[in-house]
Protein backbone atom coordinates (compact mmCIF):
# COMPACT_ATOMS: atom_id res chain seq x y z
CA UNK A 1 0.00 0.00 0.00
CA UNK A 2 1.85 3.08 1.21
CA UNK A 3 5.57 3.19 0.95
CA UNK A 4 7.35 4.97 3.74
CA UNK A 5 9.71 7.66 2.67
CA UNK A 6 12.86 8.47 4.59
CA UNK A 7 11.24 11.03 6.84
CA UNK A 8 8.54 8.67 7.93
CA UNK A 9 11.02 5.97 8.76
CA UNK A 10 12.93 8.34 10.97
CA UNK A 11 9.71 9.30 12.72
CA UNK A 12 8.79 5.72 13.34
CA UNK A 13 12.11 4.72 14.79
CA UNK A 14 12.92 8.08 16.28
CA UNK A 15 13.37 6.89 19.80
CA UNK A 16 15.65 4.03 18.92
CA UNK A 17 17.63 6.32 16.67
CA UNK A 18 18.03 8.82 19.43
CA UNK A 19 19.22 6.18 21.80
CA UNK A 20 21.74 4.88 19.33
CA UNK A 21 22.97 8.38 18.64
CA UNK A 22 23.49 8.97 22.32
CA UNK A 23 25.33 5.69 22.78
CA UNK A 24 27.48 6.39 19.75
CA UNK A 25 28.36 9.91 20.84
CA UNK A 26 29.39 8.60 24.19
CA UNK A 27 31.36 5.74 22.76
CA UNK A 28 33.37 8.20 20.74
CA UNK A 29 33.74 11.12 23.04
CA UNK A 30 33.46 9.85 26.54
CA UNK A 31 36.53 8.17 27.98
CA UNK A 32 35.94 4.80 29.58
CA UNK A 33 32.27 4.78 28.74
CA UNK A 34 31.79 1.10 28.46
CA UNK A 35 32.96 0.07 31.85
CA UNK A 36 31.09 -2.10 34.23
CA UNK A 37 30.53 0.60 36.79
CA UNK A 38 28.55 2.68 34.37
CA UNK A 39 26.40 -0.18 33.29
CA UNK A 40 25.66 -1.03 36.89
CA UNK A 41 24.77 2.54 37.63
CA UNK A 42 22.37 2.60 34.75
CA UNK A 43 20.70 -0.54 35.95
CA UNK A 44 20.25 0.54 39.54
CA UNK A 45 19.08 4.02 38.71
CA UNK A 46 16.72 3.04 35.97
CA UNK A 47 14.91 0.48 38.09
CA UNK A 48 12.16 2.65 39.56
CA UNK A 49 11.57 4.44 36.27
CA UNK A 50 11.10 1.21 34.38
CA UNK A 51 8.90 -0.37 37.01
CA UNK A 52 6.61 2.64 37.26
CA UNK A 53 6.89 3.12 33.53
CA UNK A 54 5.55 -0.33 32.84
CA UNK A 55 2.39 0.31 34.79
CA UNK A 56 2.19 3.78 33.33
CA UNK A 57 2.43 2.42 29.80
CA UNK A 58 -0.77 0.48 30.27
CA UNK A 59 -2.52 3.35 32.01
CA UNK A 60 -1.62 5.81 29.29
CA UNK A 61 -2.62 3.38 26.60
CA UNK A 62 -6.15 3.43 28.01
CA UNK A 63 -6.07 7.16 27.54
CA UNK A 64 -5.61 7.85 31.22
CA UNK A 65 -2.76 8.92 33.48
CA UNK A 66 -1.56 8.07 36.98
CA UNK A 67 0.33 10.76 38.83
CA UNK A 68 0.07 8.99 42.16
CA UNK A 69 2.77 6.42 41.48
CA UNK A 70 5.44 8.37 43.34
CA UNK A 71 3.30 8.51 46.43
CA UNK A 72 2.47 4.83 46.15
CA UNK A 73 6.19 4.12 46.04
CA UNK A 74 6.58 5.96 49.31
CA UNK A 75 3.63 4.19 50.89
CA UNK A 76 4.91 0.78 49.92
CA UNK A 77 8.45 1.51 51.08
CA UNK A 78 7.35 2.89 54.40
CA UNK A 79 4.77 0.21 55.03
CA UNK A 80 7.27 -2.54 54.39
CA UNK A 81 9.86 -0.94 56.62
CA UNK A 82 7.36 -0.44 59.41
CA UNK A 83 5.86 -3.89 59.35
CA UNK A 84 8.85 -6.03 58.75
CA UNK A 85 10.36 -5.93 62.25
CA UNK A 86 7.11 -7.47 63.51
CA UNK A 87 6.10 -9.71 60.69
CA UNK A 88 9.21 -10.52 58.79
CA UNK A 89 10.14 -9.34 55.36
CA UNK A 90 7.83 -11.21 53.03
CA UNK A 91 4.53 -10.67 54.85
CA UNK A 92 5.40 -7.00 55.09
CA UNK A 93 6.00 -6.79 51.37
CA UNK A 94 2.73 -8.55 50.78
CA UNK A 95 0.89 -6.02 52.89
CA UNK A 96 2.50 -3.18 51.04
CA UNK A 97 1.46 -4.67 47.72
CA UNK A 98 -2.07 -5.15 48.96
CA UNK A 99 -2.30 -1.56 50.12
CA UNK A 100 -1.02 -0.37 46.78
CA UNK A 101 -3.51 -2.46 44.86
CA UNK A 102 -6.33 -1.04 46.98
CA UNK A 103 -5.23 2.46 46.11
CA UNK A 104 -5.04 1.55 42.46
CA UNK A 105 -8.42 -0.09 42.64
CA UNK A 106 -9.94 3.06 44.04
CA UNK A 107 -8.40 5.09 41.25
CA UNK A 108 -9.58 2.62 38.65
CA UNK A 109 -13.07 2.62 40.06
CA UNK A 110 -13.32 6.40 40.01
CA UNK A 111 -11.94 6.64 36.50
CA UNK A 112 -13.54 3.57 34.98
CA UNK A 113 -16.92 3.42 36.65
CA UNK A 114 -17.61 6.96 37.76
CA UNK A 115 -15.87 8.33 34.66
CA UNK A 116 -14.05 11.05 36.55
CA UNK A 117 -10.95 12.59 35.10
CA UNK A 118 -7.86 10.50 35.67
CA UNK A 119 -5.60 13.45 36.36
CA UNK A 120 -7.75 14.79 39.14
CA UNK A 121 -8.42 11.46 40.77
CA UNK A 122 -4.77 10.49 40.81
CA UNK A 123 -3.89 14.00 41.99
CA UNK A 124 -6.08 13.60 45.03
CA UNK A 125 -4.63 10.18 45.66
CA UNK A 126 -1.14 11.54 45.24
CA UNK A 127 -1.71 13.96 48.09
CA UNK A 128 -3.58 11.55 50.32
CA UNK A 129 -1.23 8.62 49.85
CA UNK A 130 1.90 10.69 50.35
CA UNK A 131 0.32 12.00 53.52
CA UNK A 132 -0.47 8.46 54.60
CA UNK A 133 3.11 7.43 53.99
CA UNK A 134 4.40 10.25 56.10
CA UNK A 135 1.96 9.54 58.87
CA UNK A 136 3.06 5.94 58.91
CA UNK A 137 6.67 6.85 59.35
CA UNK A 138 5.94 9.75 61.70
CA UNK A 139 7.67 12.09 59.34
CA UNK A 140 11.00 10.50 60.14
CA UNK A 141 13.05 8.51 57.74
CA UNK A 142 13.29 4.85 58.64
CA UNK A 143 16.84 3.63 58.55
CA UNK A 144 17.31 -0.01 57.77
CA UNK A 145 20.44 -0.46 59.77
CA UNK A 146 18.36 0.17 62.85
CA UNK A 147 15.98 -2.62 62.00
CA UNK A 148 18.30 -5.50 62.66
CA UNK A 149 18.37 -8.64 60.65
CA UNK A 150 15.26 -7.91 58.70
CA UNK A 151 16.69 -4.56 57.68
CA UNK A 152 19.77 -6.23 56.34
CA UNK A 153 17.59 -8.62 54.38
CA UNK A 154 15.79 -5.86 52.64
CA UNK A 155 18.91 -3.84 52.07
CA UNK A 156 20.20 -6.83 50.19
CA UNK A 157 17.46 -6.29 47.66
CA UNK A 158 19.17 -3.06 46.89
CA UNK A 159 22.79 -3.92 47.02
CA UNK A 160 23.21 -7.56 46.14
CA UNK A 161 25.19 -8.28 43.06
CA UNK A 162 24.51 -11.42 41.08
CA UNK A 163 27.72 -13.20 40.47
CA UNK A 164 29.38 -10.32 42.22
CA UNK A 165 28.91 -8.18 39.13
CA UNK A 166 25.34 -7.57 38.04
CA UNK A 167 23.09 -5.55 40.35
CA UNK A 168 20.05 -7.38 41.61
CA UNK A 169 17.77 -4.71 40.16
CA UNK A 170 18.17 -6.33 36.79
CA UNK A 171 15.69 -8.96 37.92
CA UNK A 172 12.69 -6.72 38.55
CA UNK A 173 13.53 -4.68 35.46
CA UNK A 174 13.58 -7.63 33.13
CA UNK A 175 10.63 -9.33 34.82
CA UNK A 176 8.47 -6.23 34.76
CA UNK A 177 9.24 -5.44 31.15
CA UNK A 178 8.67 -9.04 30.13
CA UNK A 179 5.40 -9.37 32.01
CA UNK A 180 3.95 -6.15 30.66
CA UNK A 181 5.13 -6.90 27.17
CA UNK A 182 3.48 -10.30 27.28
CA UNK A 183 0.30 -8.83 28.66
CA UNK A 184 0.14 -6.14 26.03
CA UNK A 185 1.00 -8.33 23.09
CA UNK A 186 -0.30 -11.74 23.91
CA UNK A 187 -3.19 -11.60 26.30
CA UNK A 188 -6.85 -10.90 25.90
CA UNK A 189 -6.62 -8.25 28.60
CA UNK A 190 -3.82 -6.46 26.82
CA UNK A 191 -5.73 -6.32 23.57
CA UNK A 192 -8.80 -5.05 25.34
CA UNK A 193 -6.79 -2.38 27.13
CA UNK A 194 -5.45 -1.04 23.89
CA UNK A 195 -8.83 -1.19 22.21
CA UNK A 196 -10.43 0.82 25.00
CA UNK A 197 -7.73 3.46 24.71
CA UNK A 198 -7.98 3.65 20.96
CA UNK A 199 -11.74 4.02 20.74
CA UNK A 200 -13.74 3.80 23.93
CA UNK A 201 -17.13 3.76 22.27
CA UNK A 202 -16.38 1.10 19.71
CA UNK A 203 -14.84 -1.07 22.40
CA UNK A 204 -17.87 -0.77 24.63
CA UNK A 205 -20.09 -1.68 21.69
CA UNK A 206 -17.91 -4.69 21.01
CA UNK A 207 -18.78 -6.01 24.43
CA UNK A 208 -15.64 -5.09 26.37
CA UNK A 209 -16.21 -4.38 30.05
CA UNK A 210 -14.50 -1.01 30.00
CA UNK A 211 -14.92 -0.28 33.72
CA UNK A 212 -13.31 -3.54 34.72
CA UNK A 213 -10.46 -2.98 32.29
CA UNK A 214 -9.71 0.42 33.79
CA UNK A 215 -9.77 -0.91 37.33
CA UNK A 216 -7.32 -3.64 36.45
CA UNK A 217 -4.98 -1.22 34.73
CA UNK A 218 -4.79 1.18 37.65
CA UNK A 219 -4.31 -1.70 40.08
CA UNK A 220 -1.38 -2.86 38.01
CA UNK A 221 0.12 0.58 37.93
CA UNK A 222 0.00 0.79 41.70
CA UNK A 223 1.33 -2.76 42.01
CA UNK A 224 4.43 -1.99 40.00
CA UNK A 225 4.85 1.33 41.76
CA UNK A 226 4.87 -0.51 45.06
CA UNK A 227 7.71 -2.71 43.90
CA UNK A 228 9.55 0.31 42.62
CA UNK A 229 9.24 1.90 46.04
CA UNK A 230 10.46 -1.15 47.88
CA UNK A 231 13.46 -1.62 45.64
CA UNK A 232 14.34 2.04 45.74
CA UNK A 233 14.15 2.13 49.51
CA UNK A 234 16.27 -0.98 49.63
CA UNK A 235 18.91 0.60 47.47
CA UNK A 236 19.44 3.56 49.74
CA UNK A 237 18.61 1.54 52.83
CA UNK A 238 16.18 4.21 53.97
CA UNK A 239 12.42 4.43 53.77
CA UNK A 240 11.75 8.14 53.60
CA UNK A 241 8.09 8.97 53.56
CA UNK A 242 8.66 12.47 52.31
CA UNK A 243 11.16 11.99 49.55
CA UNK A 244 10.80 8.42 48.33
CA UNK A 245 9.41 8.48 44.83
CA UNK A 246 9.35 12.25 44.64
CA UNK A 247 8.82 13.23 40.99
CA UNK A 248 8.90 9.57 39.96
CA UNK A 249 5.64 9.92 38.10
CA UNK A 250 7.14 12.60 35.92
CA UNK A 251 10.06 10.39 34.94
CA UNK A 252 7.69 7.54 34.20
CA UNK A 253 5.38 9.66 32.08
CA UNK A 254 8.31 11.08 30.18
CA UNK A 255 9.63 7.60 29.46
CA UNK A 256 6.26 6.41 28.20
CA UNK A 257 5.69 9.46 26.05
CA UNK A 258 9.13 9.39 24.50
CA UNK A 259 8.64 5.71 23.92
CA UNK A 260 5.75 6.35 21.63
CA UNK A 261 2.63 5.30 23.48
CA UNK A 262 0.10 7.98 22.53
CA UNK A 263 -1.27 10.04 25.40
CA UNK A 264 -4.71 9.88 23.89
CA UNK A 265 -4.67 6.11 24.21
CA UNK A 266 -4.05 3.20 21.89
CA UNK A 267 -1.09 1.03 21.11
CA UNK A 268 1.07 0.26 24.13
CA UNK A 269 4.71 0.48 23.18
CA UNK A 270 6.35 -1.38 26.02
CA UNK A 271 9.76 -1.59 24.44
CA UNK A 272 9.40 2.08 23.58
CA UNK A 273 9.00 2.89 27.24
CA UNK A 274 12.16 0.96 28.06
CA UNK A 275 13.98 2.88 25.37
CA UNK A 276 12.52 6.12 26.65
CA UNK A 277 13.76 5.37 30.13
CA UNK A 278 17.17 4.48 28.73
CA UNK A 279 17.35 7.71 26.79
CA UNK A 280 16.61 9.75 29.88
CA UNK A 281 19.19 7.78 31.79
CA UNK A 282 21.78 8.17 29.05
CA UNK A 283 21.36 11.90 29.12
CA UNK A 284 22.06 11.96 32.81
CA UNK A 285 25.00 9.62 32.42
CA UNK A 286 26.49 11.54 29.54
CA UNK A 287 26.46 14.66 31.61
CA UNK A 288 27.93 12.98 34.64
CA UNK A 289 30.72 11.34 32.70
CA UNK A 290 31.68 14.51 30.97
CA UNK A 291 31.54 16.64 34.04
CA UNK A 292 28.55 18.53 32.80
CA UNK A 293 26.43 19.55 35.75
CA UNK A 294 23.29 17.47 36.04
CA UNK A 295 21.12 20.52 35.68
CA UNK A 296 21.95 20.70 32.01
CA UNK A 297 20.83 17.12 31.78
CA UNK A 298 17.51 18.09 33.20
CA UNK A 299 17.04 20.90 30.73
CA UNK A 300 18.02 18.60 27.92
CA UNK A 301 15.51 16.02 29.10
CA UNK A 302 12.79 18.63 29.00
CA UNK A 303 13.63 19.65 25.45
CA UNK A 304 13.73 16.07 24.27
CA UNK A 305 10.38 15.39 25.89
CA UNK A 306 8.77 18.23 23.98
CA UNK A 307 10.43 17.12 20.80
CA UNK A 308 9.29 13.53 21.21
CA UNK A 309 5.70 14.53 21.82
CA UNK A 310 5.75 16.89 18.88
CA UNK A 311 7.00 14.21 16.53
CA UNK A 312 4.39 11.84 17.86
CA UNK A 313 1.68 14.38 17.09
CA UNK A 314 2.90 14.76 13.56
CA UNK A 315 2.92 11.02 13.17
CA UNK A 316 -0.66 10.69 14.20
CA UNK A 317 -2.13 13.35 11.96
Amino acid sequence: MEKMNGLQIIKKYSSVTLLLVLVLLNAIFTPSFFNLNNLNNIITQICPVILCGMGMTLVISTGGIDISVGSVMALAGVLTARLMPQTGLYPAVLCALLAAVLVGGLAGFMVGKLRLQAMVVTLGLMLAVRGAAQVLCDGRDIYFNKLGKVGEQLALWGTYKIGGAVPVQIIPIVLAAAVIWIIAEKTVLGHQIQAVGDNYKSSALAGINTARTMIIVYCMSAFFAAFAGIFQAAKIAVAAGSSLGQLAELDAIAAVVIGGTPMSGGKARVIGTVIGALIMQMITLTCVMNDIPSQYAQVLKAIILIFAVFIQREKRK
Binding site: M119, L127, A128, G241, A254, S294, A302, I306, R313
Partner: protein
Protein backbone atom coordinates in the same frame (compact mmCIF):
# COMPACT_ATOMS: atom_id res chain seq x y z
CA UNK B 1 -35.86 12.77 44.02
CA UNK B 2 -35.97 15.67 41.60
CA UNK B 3 -36.59 18.12 44.40
CA UNK B 4 -33.71 16.68 46.34
CA UNK B 5 -31.51 17.13 43.30
CA UNK B 6 -32.61 20.74 42.90
CA UNK B 7 -31.81 21.61 46.48
CA UNK B 8 -28.52 19.82 46.18
CA UNK B 9 -27.54 21.74 43.06
CA UNK B 10 -28.39 25.13 44.44
CA UNK B 11 -26.30 24.37 47.46
CA UNK B 12 -23.43 22.89 45.55
CA UNK B 13 -22.22 26.11 44.08
CA UNK B 14 -22.18 27.57 47.51
CA UNK B 15 -20.83 24.45 49.12
CA UNK B 16 -17.30 25.72 49.20
CA UNK B 17 -18.37 28.68 51.23
CA UNK B 18 -20.43 26.44 53.45
CA UNK B 19 -17.50 24.12 53.97
CA UNK B 20 -15.32 27.05 54.77
CA UNK B 21 -17.71 28.48 57.31
CA UNK B 22 -18.22 25.10 58.87
CA UNK B 23 -14.50 24.71 59.17
CA UNK B 24 -14.04 28.07 60.81
CA UNK B 25 -16.84 27.59 63.26
CA UNK B 26 -15.86 24.08 64.24
CA UNK B 27 -12.23 24.89 64.72
CA UNK B 28 -13.11 28.07 66.53
CA UNK B 29 -15.09 26.07 69.00
CA UNK B 30 -12.61 23.27 69.38
CA UNK B 31 -9.65 25.48 69.84
CA UNK B 32 -11.38 28.27 71.63
CA UNK B 33 -9.06 27.96 74.53
CA UNK B 34 -6.09 28.57 72.35
CA UNK B 35 -7.40 31.59 70.58
CA UNK B 36 -7.98 30.06 67.22
CA UNK B 37 -10.37 32.78 66.33
CA UNK B 38 -8.08 35.52 67.50
CA UNK B 39 -7.22 38.34 65.19
CA UNK B 40 -3.59 37.43 65.35
CA UNK B 41 -4.26 33.92 64.23
CA UNK B 42 -6.45 34.99 61.37
CA UNK B 43 -3.78 37.22 60.03
CA UNK B 44 -1.27 34.51 60.58
CA UNK B 45 -3.26 32.26 58.31
CA UNK B 46 -3.58 34.97 55.71
CA UNK B 47 0.10 35.65 55.82
CA UNK B 48 0.91 32.02 55.23
CA UNK B 49 -1.52 31.96 52.34
CA UNK B 50 0.10 34.91 50.70
CA UNK B 51 3.57 33.49 51.04
CA UNK B 52 3.14 29.84 50.36
CA UNK B 53 1.16 29.31 47.26
CA UNK B 54 -1.90 31.54 47.36
CA UNK B 55 -0.77 33.42 44.29
CA UNK B 56 -0.01 30.20 42.50
CA UNK B 57 -3.54 29.01 43.08
CA UNK B 58 -4.83 32.27 41.64
CA UNK B 59 -2.69 31.91 38.56
CA UNK B 60 -3.62 28.27 38.23
CA UNK B 61 -7.26 29.30 38.17
CA UNK B 62 -6.79 31.23 34.94
CA UNK B 63 -5.26 28.23 33.28
CA UNK B 64 -7.66 25.63 34.61
CA UNK B 65 -10.66 27.73 33.60
CA UNK B 66 -9.37 27.52 30.04
CA UNK B 67 -9.28 23.78 30.32
CA UNK B 68 -5.51 23.53 30.68
CA UNK B 69 -2.99 23.11 33.49
CA UNK B 70 0.31 24.63 34.58
CA UNK B 71 2.61 22.28 36.45
CA UNK B 72 5.56 24.64 36.30
CA UNK B 73 4.24 27.26 38.69
CA UNK B 74 6.33 26.22 41.65
CA UNK B 75 9.49 26.17 39.59
CA UNK B 76 8.65 29.61 38.20
CA UNK B 77 8.31 30.86 41.74
CA UNK B 78 11.79 29.64 42.55
CA UNK B 79 13.55 30.83 39.44
CA UNK B 80 12.05 34.31 39.51
CA UNK B 81 13.31 34.78 43.02
CA UNK B 82 16.76 33.70 41.93
CA UNK B 83 16.72 35.88 38.83
CA UNK B 84 15.61 38.81 40.89
CA UNK B 85 18.39 38.23 43.37
CA UNK B 86 21.04 37.96 40.69
CA UNK B 87 19.94 40.89 38.56
CA UNK B 88 19.14 42.80 41.71
CA UNK B 89 22.79 42.90 42.53
CA UNK B 90 23.18 45.29 39.63
CA UNK B 91 20.04 47.26 40.25
CA UNK B 92 17.26 46.26 42.61
CA UNK B 93 14.44 47.61 40.47
CA UNK B 94 15.79 45.93 37.41
CA UNK B 95 15.93 42.81 39.49
CA UNK B 96 12.24 42.91 40.28
CA UNK B 97 11.41 43.55 36.65
CA UNK B 98 13.61 40.69 35.54
CA UNK B 99 12.02 38.36 38.03
CA UNK B 100 8.53 39.19 36.89
CA UNK B 101 9.56 39.01 33.27
CA UNK B 102 10.78 35.47 33.82
CA UNK B 103 7.29 34.44 34.72
CA UNK B 104 5.84 36.18 31.71
CA UNK B 105 8.29 34.49 29.37
CA UNK B 106 7.81 31.00 30.74
CA UNK B 107 4.05 31.45 30.58
CA UNK B 108 4.24 32.59 27.01
CA UNK B 109 6.44 29.67 26.04
CA UNK B 110 4.04 27.16 27.53
CA UNK B 111 1.14 28.95 25.87
CA UNK B 112 2.84 28.73 22.51
CA UNK B 113 3.67 25.07 22.91
CA UNK B 114 0.08 24.31 23.79
CA UNK B 115 -1.59 26.36 21.09
CA UNK B 116 0.83 26.28 18.19
CA UNK B 117 2.58 22.98 18.65
CA UNK B 118 -0.58 21.37 19.95
CA UNK B 119 1.23 19.72 22.83
CA UNK B 120 -0.90 18.85 25.83
CA UNK B 121 -0.46 21.38 28.61
CA UNK B 122 0.41 18.54 30.98
CA UNK B 123 3.47 17.66 28.97
CA UNK B 124 4.39 21.22 28.06
CA UNK B 125 4.26 22.52 31.61
CA UNK B 126 5.88 19.35 32.91
CA UNK B 127 8.79 19.84 30.55
CA UNK B 128 9.01 23.46 31.64
CA UNK B 129 9.13 22.26 35.23
CA UNK B 130 12.05 19.97 34.44
CA UNK B 131 13.84 22.65 32.48
CA UNK B 132 13.39 25.39 35.05
CA UNK B 133 14.45 23.27 38.02
CA UNK B 134 17.53 22.42 36.07
CA UNK B 135 18.23 25.99 35.04
CA UNK B 136 17.91 27.26 38.58
CA UNK B 137 20.89 25.20 39.59
CA UNK B 138 22.76 26.32 36.53
CA UNK B 139 22.48 29.98 37.18
CA UNK B 140 22.98 29.84 40.92
CA UNK B 141 24.96 27.48 43.08
CA UNK B 142 23.27 28.27 46.33
CA UNK B 143 20.69 30.58 47.77
CA UNK B 144 20.93 34.07 46.45
CA UNK B 145 20.67 36.92 48.85
CA UNK B 146 18.26 39.68 48.19
CA UNK B 147 18.71 43.06 49.66
CA UNK B 148 17.66 46.56 49.09
CA UNK B 149 14.39 48.33 48.85
CA UNK B 150 12.51 45.26 47.74
CA UNK B 151 13.29 43.67 51.01
CA UNK B 152 12.19 46.63 53.02
CA UNK B 153 8.99 46.82 51.06
CA UNK B 154 8.16 43.19 51.49
CA UNK B 155 8.77 43.26 55.18
CA UNK B 156 6.90 46.42 55.79
CA UNK B 157 4.05 46.51 58.15
CA UNK B 158 0.95 48.53 57.56
CA UNK B 159 -2.10 49.52 59.48
CA UNK B 160 -0.17 50.02 62.66
CA UNK B 161 -2.46 50.46 65.56
CA UNK B 162 -5.62 50.12 63.52
CA UNK B 163 -6.58 46.66 64.50
CA UNK B 164 -7.36 45.34 67.95
CA UNK B 165 -4.56 43.22 69.21
CA UNK B 166 -2.32 44.04 66.29
CA UNK B 167 -0.63 47.17 67.43
CA UNK B 168 2.45 46.75 65.38
CA UNK B 169 0.37 46.39 62.29
CA UNK B 170 0.06 43.55 59.83
CA UNK B 171 2.45 42.58 57.11
CA UNK B 172 1.95 44.40 53.85
CA UNK B 173 1.79 41.05 52.20
CA UNK B 174 -1.75 40.56 53.39
CA UNK B 175 -3.42 43.59 51.86
CA UNK B 176 -1.28 42.99 48.79
CA UNK B 177 -2.71 39.50 48.53
CA UNK B 178 -6.24 40.77 48.91
CA UNK B 179 -5.53 43.34 46.25
CA UNK B 180 -4.52 40.72 43.79
CA UNK B 181 -7.43 38.51 44.68
CA UNK B 182 -9.74 41.41 43.91
CA UNK B 183 -7.93 42.18 40.69
CA UNK B 184 -8.36 38.58 39.58
CA UNK B 185 -12.00 38.61 40.54
CA UNK B 186 -12.47 41.80 38.58
CA UNK B 187 -10.72 40.37 35.56
CA UNK B 188 -12.85 37.28 35.74
CA UNK B 189 -16.08 39.15 35.87
CA UNK B 190 -15.67 42.50 34.23
CA UNK B 191 -13.19 42.15 31.42
CA UNK B 192 -13.49 40.74 27.94
CA UNK B 193 -10.53 38.50 28.65
CA UNK B 194 -12.41 37.05 31.60
CA UNK B 195 -15.48 36.28 29.51
CA UNK B 196 -13.31 34.73 26.86
CA UNK B 197 -11.61 32.41 29.33
CA UNK B 198 -14.92 30.99 30.46
CA UNK B 199 -16.08 30.61 26.86
CA UNK B 200 -12.89 28.87 25.77
CA UNK B 201 -12.95 26.54 28.75
CA UNK B 202 -16.63 25.73 28.46
CA UNK B 203 -16.79 24.96 24.76
CA UNK B 204 -13.70 25.89 22.78
CA UNK B 205 -15.26 25.22 19.43
CA UNK B 206 -18.27 27.40 20.20
CA UNK B 207 -15.98 30.15 21.42
CA UNK B 208 -14.11 30.09 18.15
CA UNK B 209 -17.38 30.21 16.22
CA UNK B 210 -18.37 33.28 18.14
CA UNK B 211 -15.26 35.08 17.06
CA UNK B 212 -13.05 34.57 20.10
CA UNK B 213 -9.37 34.02 19.44
CA UNK B 214 -8.97 30.87 21.54
CA UNK B 215 -5.23 30.59 21.04
CA UNK B 216 -4.56 34.09 22.21
CA UNK B 217 -6.84 33.69 25.20
CA UNK B 218 -4.99 30.59 26.33
CA UNK B 219 -1.60 32.18 25.87
CA UNK B 220 -2.61 35.14 27.98
CA UNK B 221 -3.94 32.79 30.65
CA UNK B 222 -0.58 31.02 30.81
CA UNK B 223 1.18 34.36 30.98
CA UNK B 224 -1.08 35.34 33.88
CA UNK B 225 -0.21 32.12 35.66
CA UNK B 226 3.49 32.61 35.07
CA UNK B 227 3.32 36.21 36.17
CA UNK B 228 1.52 35.43 39.40
CA UNK B 229 3.96 32.66 40.20
CA UNK B 230 6.82 35.04 39.54
CA UNK B 231 5.14 37.70 41.64
CA UNK B 232 4.90 35.24 44.46
CA UNK B 233 8.52 34.24 44.06
CA UNK B 234 9.73 37.80 44.05
CA UNK B 235 7.74 38.63 47.17
CA UNK B 236 8.86 35.52 48.96
CA UNK B 237 12.52 36.12 48.24
CA UNK B 238 12.21 39.75 49.23
CA UNK B 239 10.53 39.06 52.49
CA UNK B 240 12.92 36.39 53.62
CA UNK B 241 15.98 38.08 52.25
CA UNK B 242 17.14 35.15 50.20
CA UNK B 243 15.97 33.22 47.19
CA UNK B 244 16.24 29.52 47.86
CA UNK B 245 16.78 27.14 45.00
CA UNK B 246 14.17 24.64 46.07
CA UNK B 247 11.43 27.13 46.79
CA UNK B 248 7.94 26.33 45.68
CA UNK B 249 8.49 22.61 45.55
CA UNK B 250 5.14 20.85 45.03
CA UNK B 251 3.27 24.13 45.37
CA UNK B 252 1.51 23.58 42.08
CA UNK B 253 0.02 20.33 43.30
CA UNK B 254 -1.53 21.99 46.30
CA UNK B 255 -2.63 24.89 44.14
CA UNK B 256 -4.58 22.51 41.93
CA UNK B 257 -6.11 21.00 45.03
CA UNK B 258 -7.10 24.45 46.30
CA UNK B 259 -8.75 25.17 42.99
CA UNK B 260 -10.59 21.87 42.93
CA UNK B 261 -11.88 22.43 46.44
CA UNK B 262 -12.80 25.97 45.51
CA UNK B 263 -15.18 24.69 42.88
CA UNK B 264 -13.03 25.25 39.82
CA UNK B 265 -13.94 22.45 37.49
CA UNK B 266 -10.77 20.87 36.20
CA UNK B 267 -12.20 20.37 32.76
CA UNK B 268 -12.66 24.12 32.43
CA UNK B 269 -15.32 26.75 32.09
CA UNK B 270 -16.72 26.60 35.60
CA UNK B 271 -15.65 28.26 38.80
CA UNK B 272 -15.01 31.68 40.23
CA UNK B 273 -11.92 33.35 41.59
CA UNK B 274 -13.78 33.87 44.81
CA UNK B 275 -14.05 30.10 44.97
CA UNK B 276 -10.31 29.75 44.63
CA UNK B 277 -9.91 32.25 47.42
CA UNK B 278 -11.99 30.09 49.71
CA UNK B 279 -10.16 27.01 48.57
CA UNK B 280 -6.89 28.71 49.51
CA UNK B 281 -8.24 29.67 52.90
CA UNK B 282 -9.59 26.20 53.55
CA UNK B 283 -6.20 24.71 52.90
CA UNK B 284 -4.33 27.08 55.14
CA UNK B 285 -6.87 26.80 57.89
CA UNK B 286 -6.46 23.05 57.83
CA UNK B 287 -2.75 23.64 57.80
CA UNK B 288 -2.99 25.83 60.87
CA UNK B 289 -5.37 23.48 62.64
CA UNK B 290 -2.72 20.86 62.45
CA UNK B 291 -0.28 23.07 64.29
CA UNK B 292 -2.82 23.22 67.07
CA UNK B 293 -3.30 19.55 67.33
CA UNK B 294 -1.31 17.54 69.82
CA UNK B 295 1.97 16.50 68.32
CA UNK B 296 0.98 12.87 68.62
CA UNK B 297 -1.18 13.39 65.58
CA UNK B 298 1.20 13.66 62.71
CA UNK B 299 1.18 16.85 60.75
CA UNK B 300 1.04 14.76 57.64
CA UNK B 301 -2.59 13.89 58.11
CA UNK B 302 -2.98 17.20 56.41
CA UNK B 303 -2.06 15.76 53.05
CA UNK B 304 -4.47 12.91 53.55
CA UNK B 305 -7.25 15.32 54.35
CA UNK B 306 -6.41 17.48 51.37
CA UNK B 307 -6.26 14.49 49.10
CA UNK B 308 -9.63 13.25 50.28
CA UNK B 309 -11.10 16.72 49.88
CA UNK B 310 -9.93 16.76 46.28
CA UNK B 311 -11.47 13.37 45.62
CA UNK B 312 -14.73 14.41 47.21
CA UNK B 313 -14.95 17.71 45.38
CA UNK B 314 -14.23 16.12 42.05
CA UNK B 315 -16.64 13.30 42.74
CA UNK B 316 -19.26 15.92 43.34
CA UNK B 317 -18.38 17.87 40.24
CA UNK B 318 -20.36 15.58 37.98
CA UNK B 319 -21.90 16.94 34.83
CA UNK B 320 -24.81 19.10 35.83
CA UNK B 321 -26.16 19.39 32.34
CA UNK B 322 -26.04 15.73 31.43
CA UNK B 323 -28.09 15.38 28.33
CA UNK B 324 -26.97 18.32 26.30
CA UNK B 325 -23.95 17.55 24.21
CA UNK B 326 -21.78 20.15 22.60
CA UNK B 327 -19.86 18.37 19.90
CA UNK B 328 -17.70 20.00 17.31
CA UNK B 329 -19.63 21.12 14.27
CA UNK B 330 -17.18 19.60 11.89
CA UNK B 331 -18.00 16.14 13.09
CA UNK B 332 -21.65 16.58 12.33
CA UNK B 333 -22.85 14.52 9.45
CA UNK B 334 -25.92 14.88 7.30
Amino acid sequence: MKIAKKIYHSFYSKSTILAFLLLIITSGIIFADRNFMSVANIFNILLKASKNGGYIALGMTFVILCGEIDLSAGAVLAISGVVMGLVGQVNPYLGIAAGLLTGVITGMLIGLMVTKMRISSWIASLAMLFALRGMISIIAKKSVTVSGSAMTFANAKVLKGWLPGMNSGISIMIPLFFLLVFICMYIGRYTKFGMNIYAVGGNGEAARMMGINTDRTKIIAFIASGFLAAFSGVLLASSSGSATLSAGNTYETYAIAMCAIGGIKLSGGVGKFSGTFFGILIYFIINTIFTYLPTSISVHWQSIVMGLLVLISVGVQTEVFGKVKFKKIREQTD
